[in-house]
């Protein structure tokens, strides 16, 4: 076990006259080098759990340890900084900035972080896009790219700051089967070859079958965690 993220009794309830429980009492450990999928019917709280794990949303109960550090109660700025430096998100709809070319989209996290010199940022942007099989498309704006290409740009952008944890919210949900297979392959490679932790929410059971750990959710709870790796 090599945990990067540990959730203990994690819960999220929308306050209101009739409180809505999105996520309830989730205990979950995410490992490095492991491709984890979260599956379950629509509205079961998969995405809500992912936002909690990705520190985009704050839990109303329980605690979250990221790289051994308790993240609950930290300021929004610290969480933003953590997302910037350690996390990468890929969403169902590619979510690229429309005014920026593929290359510029990939450079956004690096430029915001400001660690690398401009030419290094550029070189890394080209390299990441090349890794995703997008040579020659660097200058194209999102509207000139196909759905699969955009999603791969989004993955390249998620990887820009070399994150330890990559989170996908239905990353293949909007793609045809060929594109989908390429994206899944890319995500598996991130976990297996680069040792990152990859967590994807999906309703595609074929993808879930290809993952190392499958987390099944129902009504905001984790019903079952299956380790599908051989020999475990």
């Amino acid at each position: 076990m090599n945990p990067i993220l540990e959730a203990h009794g994690l819960g999220r309830t929308l306050a209101g006259e009739r409180p809505v429980v999105l996520v309830h009492d989730v205990d979950l450990t995410i490992e490095r080098g492991c491709f984890t999928t979260i599956v379950g019917p629509s509205g079961c709280g998969k995405s809500s759990l992912l936002y909690l794990l990705g520190m985009l949303d704050r839990p109303t109960a329980g605690s979250l340890l990221f790289e051994g550090r308790d993240m609950s109660g930290l300021s929004g700025d610290v969480l933003a900084q953590t997302r910037l430096a350690r996390l990468g998100f890929v969403f169902q709809f590619h979510f690229l900035l429309p005014e920026f070319s593929a290359l510029e989209n990939v450079m956004i996290p690096m430029r915001r972080r400001g660690r690398l010199a401009p030419d290094e940022v550029r070189a890394r942007g080209f390299a990441l896009l090349a890794e995703m099989g997008l040579e020659g498309k660097e200058r194209k704006t999102p509207d000139k790219l196909s759905g699969g290409e955009r999603q791969r740009v989004a993955i390249a952008r998620a990887l820009a700051n070399d994150p330890a944890l990559v989170l996908g919210d239905e990353p293949t949900g909007n793609l045809d089967s060929v594109s989908s297979a390429r994206v899944v392959e890319a995500l598996r490679r991130l976990a297996h070859e680069e040792g990152r932790a990859v967590v994807c929410v999906t309703h595609d059971l074929d993808i879930a079958a290809l993952s190392d750990v499958r987390v099944e959710m129902l009504d905001g709870r984790v019903e079952k965690v299956t380790d599908q790796r051989a020999g475990r």
Binding site: L56, G76, D77, T82, L84, F95, I108, P109, R112
Partner: protein, 417 residues
């Protein structure tokens, strides 16, 4: 955040604005028009004000000491029996000879003030007569040599020089309007008389231009000696004009001299206090009009940034998920407002400059003479215009930018997924 991070936020703001060119252009022109007209209007207002104040200052000596007393000295009876049990009334009062007593001492004291020069003079009323025509005239008897140093009379002469009073026996300088009414020209002779003296002949040696701000059309200049004898008041002075190197010290100098000698000493500020308060009102009006223009301009900025925020909610969510903080997002949109203001200011400066050039090239006939519009083209106005635009722009952008910071990325992501 480091500099690279900030410059990146700037580039995002630029992209957002570049996307909505027409709105940007409208907002920018709002600021530009505001700034441009502010520059033109304030240049005119301040220019004419400076011009006017200069005229106020230079039209007459900076401080005038007259033989008036702010409160008359008590009559001998009152002085003697002031504390008496019976109030004396109707006793014979002593008639004092009017004029400044001990004026030599006052002139000396005034000249002792650094940068000051005092010129004693005698004023009085005479009647000019030519043929059957009579005109009342307030004459000022001066020492031409000193008077030319303390006033701008020399510039106000259409023809002749003040010094000619010394060389011509019975010389007099009058306004050209009066001369026209009497039907006299340079070198002509008129009769001057007062109630107490018989008429004597005076020769016109100079004519004052008409339409001078502070000089009445019915005043004239003669030699001091001439005035004293004409008015039958030998050796008497009833006015001392003081010129100061620093006109703004006039009030202080006047107060000091008045306290010391008791005679009424009036500074140019006191003399023209109505005008000066009028100028304050003018400035208040100008700045309120300009503030209104800039306020309207800032509505344009508000609209652009506000629509930008609501259009970019998705982008805001993406950037937040990438790791931009609430403050980053707020800054991006405030920067948009500041950039709109900055571009507007640059165009506004150009517009203002052009407008001023146009105004400067115009000349209007004022009082029969072509005069160009007095303009004040100090950089101070450019700075004020820019500073107020930036403040207006940042405030106008800050309001919607707060909304951008408050966008909950999860709401947007959930809605889209």
């Amino acid at each position: 955040m480091n500099l690279r991070g900030i410059s990146f936020l700037v580039s995002i703001a630029v992209r957002h604005l570049a996307r909505r060119k027409r709105q940007t252009a409208v907002a920018v022109s709002g600021v530009a028009v505001g700034v441009g007209f502010f520059l033109a209007v304030s240049a005119m207002m301040i220019g004419s004000q400076n011009d006017f104040v200069e005229q106020l200052i230079e039209a007459a000596p900076h401080v005038i000491i007259s033989d008036e007393l702010r409160s008359p000295s008590p009559q001998p009876g009152t002085r003697r029996f002031g504390e008496g049990a019976v109030d004396l009334r109707g006793y014979k009062v002593r008639t004092e000879v009017r004029g400044i007593k001990g004026w030599q001492g006052i002139v000396e004291a005034a000249n002792a003030v650094p940068g000051a020069l005092a010129s004693p003079s005698l004023t009085g009323g005479v009647t000019l007569r030519l043929g059957g025509h009579e005109e009342a005239l307030a004459i000022v008897g001066v020492d031409p040599e000193v008077e030319t140093k303390i006033s701008t009379i020399e510039d106000q002469l259409r023809v002749g020089r003040l010094r000619d009073l010394e060389t011509v026996q019975g010389g007099i300088i009058i306004g050209e309007e009066l001369a026209a009414r009497l039907g006299v020209k340079m070198g002509d002779i008129v009769a001057a008389s007062t109630s107490s003296s018989k008429a004597r002949s005076m020769r016109i040696v100079g004519l004052l231009k008409k339409g001078q701000a502070m000089i009445s059309s019915n005043s004239g200049y003669v030699l001091l000696r001439e005035a004293q004898s004409l008015l039958g008041r030998p050796f008497i002075i009833n006015r001392i004009g003081i010129h100061l190197d620093d006109p703004y010290a006039a009030q202080e100098v006047a107060a000091r001299l008045e306290q010391r000698f008791g005679y009424k000493a009036e500074s140019w500020q006191e003399r023209s206090s109505e005008f000066l308060s009028l100028l304050v009102t003018r400035n208040v009006i100008m700045y309120s009009v300009v503030s209104a223009i800039l306020l309207v301009a800032s509505f344009g900025i508000y609209t652009v940034v506000s629509t930008s925020v609501s259009d970019k909610r998705r982008d805001i969510a993406i950037l937040r998920s990438i790791g931009f903080s609430e403050r980053d997002l707020q800054l991006i949109f405030v920067l948009e407002g500041i950039m709109l203001a900055a571009i507007g200011v640059i165009f506004g400066w150009m517009l203002g400059y052009v407008l001023m050039e146009i105004l400067a090239s115009l000349s209007f006939p004022i009082a029969g003479e072509d005069q160009s519009v007095p303009l004040d083209r100090s950089t101070r106005q450019y700075v004020i215009a820019a500073a107020s635009s930036f403040i207006a722009g940042s405030v106008a952008a800050w309001l919607p930018a707060r909304k951008a910071a408050r966008v909950d990325p999860v709401d947007i992501l959930r809605g889209a997924a």
